[in-house]
Symmetry: C2
Subunit: 420 residues, 2 copies
C-alpha cells in the first residue's frame, strides 16, 4: 500500500489528514471575495493550482487549463496529462522541493475556504450494484426467496439520474413534495415526503469519451477519479412512481458529492477484487484484474443541535460490480459517454446490520428504528438532521480521504399557490 | 386557426410547404464549406439568421445571440424576446417588406443545405403519457385487466434518458448489441438486438429554468418549442434489463429529432384539449385550459432500395398528459429544470390499429407482422430500413410542419475484441 510521501507542508505529514502528498485531491475554492478557482488539497491547506499555472510553475498544455472553476479541462487532456500533473504537483510539494518559496504564496487554509462543485457534471447515472443492498431491499419488498431480480447477477443495473440535481457538500437539501399513496388509500395525495433517506455511495467520474463499446480495462483507463456521493432518496415517492419505468422524482431532489475529487492514481495502492461471482459474467463484463478499491466508509447523523452518531460503517470493496464494469456496460448500446459523466456506484451495504448504507435498510423499512447517541430514534430522516459521509483508503501511516460529504435536511417549503 | 401570412419568398405561400411565414421554424445549417449557423426555414429556403444579426437587421440583445450554432441563447432571453424575434422575422419576410432586398442575400436553398442539431440538449427525459400506447403495451405484457399500471392515471410517468444519444434527422442508427435473454433460456447472451423498434413522439424543449415547483400554466410558459422525436427502442434488451429500475441501454442507442424546432407561438392556433380524464388529477396537474396541440403525425418505413409505406397515422392530441403537465410534474421534487432540457412525449398511439406509434404495437409483439407496399413484412426493424416521421398542424390553406425526422438502421458492428 506504499508509504507516506513527505511534504514541506507539515500538516500533510500527519497520519490523520485526508490529504497527504500521496492524495493531491482536486477541488474548487474561494477565500474571501476571490472568484472560485481550481485548488489541490494538501494537509490542512489548499494550493491554488490556477495560480501555479499563471505563475508558470505548472504547465499542462499550450494554453491554460485551470483558468476555469472546474477540472473538466484537465480530464479532457487524457491519462498521460493526468500522470504528468500528479508528478509535477508531487515535485512542487515534496519535502525538499526547490520551488517551495515560489509555491508558498499560493497556499490557503482550508478552514478559510468556501468549496464549490469540483467539476461540471455532464450526465449522471446511478447504479444498483451492491449485492447486500439489493438483497436487503429485495427481501423487504419481495421476500427472501425472490430478493435479487433475475437479471441482477448478469447486469450492472442502472438508471439515468438528473445531472442538474447534483450539488456539492454543504448544500442544504429541502425535503421534497411528491405524490404519495398509503397502502390502504385508494388514491394518492400530494404531500411532503415522509420517508426521506440517504444512500451511501461512491461516484466515479468519466474523464475520457467513449467511441462505441469499451472493454472493462479500457473503461478503467477512462475513469479520472472518485468522489463520495449521497443519493438522497424519497422512498414513499419512489414506491408509488417507480413501476414500470423506474425511479424518477424520488431521486431528483439532490445528490450530494464530496468537494474533493480523488484521482484514480491516488487509489491504485488500494486496488482489490470484487466479491466472488455467484454466476459467471458475460465476456464483455469480465475483469482483467482487481477492479475495486479498499476504501472504508461511514455515515454519521446529527439531529438539529445534537451530537452526531455514526450509523453505518462499510467498505467500497463490497460492490459486486466496479465502476469500470458499469462504464463498459453503459457503452454497450452505443451510448456516447462523455468527459464529466458521473456514475453513482449504488448503495454500499456490507453483510452486517451496522454496515447498511441507507436508513431503509438500517431501520428495516421503518420496523426497527435505530437509536442515536442522544437517545432519539430514527426510521427515516427528520428536518434538521445533518448527514455526513466520510471515506478513506488506509495505508501505512497515511490515509487517502475525500473530505466530508455533508448535507442538512431542511423542512419542505409551504405548498406554493401554483400547486393548490 | 388563423390564415396564411403571405411572404415575398414565394415558396412559403404554397399550401403544401411545412414552412409558411406563420411557422418560422429554427434550425442550424451549412451550405458548402461554411460553418454551421442558425437559420430560419421559409418555404423551400433558409434565411441565415446569424447573417441578419451581423448585418444589424435582427437585434435581439446588446450582444450577439446567434453567433453560435445552436438556438439556446435565444431561449435564455425568455418569452418576451421570443415574441420580439418572431415579430421582427415576420416583418422582414412578409409580403411588401421594405427590407426584402437586404434580406435576400441571406437566403439559401434548403436543398443545398446540410442540417445539424438545432440546440444543445441539456438533459433528456422521456415520458409514457399516451393512454392508447400504455394500454396496448400493458395488455401485451400483463393482460387487458391490468393494462394500465395503478399510478398511470395519476402521474405522467417518465424516466431520464441520455442527452448524449440525441441526434439530428439523417444520422444513421446502428443496431445495438446488448444482453438478451430468450424466455426459455436460463442465462442471457450478448448479441445484436433482434427487436429493434421506433417510437413516434413529439419533443418539447424547455426554454426557461425552473426555481422550485411550477404550475401547469407556468410550465407552459417555459416551453420554447417542439420537435418530432423518434425514441429508438431495443425491445429485447429492455425486456431483460428493465426490472426494477426502468429502461437503460434499451433507450441509449439514439433518439432522433427533426432538424427544425417549431416555436410554441406557431402552434398556438392549434391548441386543443387533452382527452377526458378517467380520474380527477391532483391540483398541481390540473390544466388551466387546452394544453395540447392538434398535430397530424405519420411514420413511413422504406426497406433498403424499396418504396416507403406509411405504417401509422396519428395525432399529438391523443396524449393524456401535455408537455406542460410533464414539466410541472418534473419540477415537483425540486429538480432544477434548465434551458435546453428535452421532454419526449411518450409514444403517440391513437385508438385504431393503424394509428399505433411503434412496431411493438403495430405487429402486436411480433404476432401480427405488418405488410409493406412491396409485399415484405415487418415485425421489427430490419437493417437498411429507413424510418421517416412527419408531422404538421393544418390551418386554412397552410400547414405548420417540422420537416422530416428520419434515420436509417445500419447493421450491428462486428463484436469488438474488447467484448469477446
Amino acid at each position: 500500500m506504499g508509504e507516506l510521501r513527505k511534504s514541506w507542508v507539515e500538516s500533510a505529514n500527519r497520519a490523520d489528514t485526508d490529504f497527504p502528498l500521496n492524495n493531491l485531491a482536486l477541488g474548487v475554492f474561494s477565500v474571501g471575495e476571490t472568484e472560485p478557482r481550481c485548488g489541490v488539497a494538501i494537509g490542512s491547506m489548499i494550493v491554488d493550482a490556477c495560480g501555479l499555472e499563471e505563475d508558470g510553475l505548472l504547465v499542462l498544455a499550450e494554453t491554460p487549463v485551470l483558468d476555469v472553476p472546474f477540472w473538466n479541462e484537465l480530464m479532457e487532456l487524457g491519462p498521460e496529462a493526468w500522470a504528468a500533473f500528479r508528478a509535477r504537483m508531487t515535485a512542487l510539494l515534496a519535502e525538499g522541493s526547490e520551488d517551495r518559496n515560489r509555491v508558498r504564496p499560493h497556499l490557503y487554509r482550508q478552514a478559510d475556504a468556501a468549496l464549490y462543485m469540483p467539476f461540471l457534471v455532464s450526465e449522471y447515472t446511478d447504479f444498483y450494484a451492491g449485492k447486500h443492498h439489493a438483497e436487503n431491499v429485495g427481501t423487504m419488498f419481495r421476500g427472501p426467496e425472490n430478493a435479487l431480480p433475475p437479471n441482477w447477477l448478469s447486469i450492472p443495473i442502472g438508471y439515468n439520474g438528473r445531472a442538474s440535481s447534483v450539488v456539492v457538500s454543504g448544500t442544504p437539501v429541502t425535503r421534497p413534495w411528491g405524490q404519495l399513496k398509503a397502502p390502504d388509500a385508494e388514491l394518492p395525495e400530494f404531500a411532503p415526503c415522509r420517508r426521506f433517506d440517504l444512500e451511501l455511495e461512491m461516484g466515479a467520474i468519466v474523464g475520457q469519451p467513449s467511441e462505441g463499446m469499451v472493454s472493462v480495462a479500457q473503461a478503467d483507463d477512462m475513469i479520472f477519479g472518485y468522489v463520495l456521493l449521497n443519493d438522497w432518496s424519497a422512498r414513499d415517492i419512489q414506491a408509488w412512481e417507480y413501476q414500470p419505468l423506474g425511479p424518477f422524482q424520488a431521486k431528483a431532489t439532490a445528490t450530494t458529492i464530496s468537494p474533493w475529487i480523488v484521482m484514480k492514481a491516488a487509489l491504485e495502492p488500494f486496488r482489490t477484487s470484487t466479491p466472488a461471482r455467484a454466476r459467471p459474467l458475460l465476456p464483455y463484463l469480465r475483469e482483467p484484474g482487481p477492479m475495486i478499491y479498499d476504501i472504508d466508509l461511514e455515515v454519521a447523523l446529527a439531529p438539529e443541535g445534537g451530537a452526531q452518531t455514526v450509523i453505518a460503517r462499510t467498505n467500497y470493496r463490497e460492490m459486486y460490480y466496479s465502476a469500470a464494469q458499469q462504464l463498459a456496460h453503459h457503452a454497450t448500446s452505443g451510448c456516447p459517454m462523455n468527459v464529466g459523466d458521473l456514475l453513482g456506484s449504488g448503495t454500499i451495504s456490507g453483510p452486517t446490520k451496522d454496515s447498511r448504507g441507507s436508513l431503509l435498510e438500517l431501520s428495516w423499512g421503518g420496523k426497527e428504528p435505530i437509536t442515536l447517541a442522544g437517545g432519539e430514534t430514527r426510521s427515516f430522516l427528520e428536518d434538521g438532521d445533518r448527514l455526513t459521509l466520510r471515506g478513506a483508503a488506509k495505508g501505512q501511516g497515511y490515509r487517502i480521504g475525500f473530505g466530508e460529504c455533508a448535507g442538512k435536511v431542511v423542512a419542505a417549503m409551504a405548498l406554493p399557490d401554483c400547486a393548490k
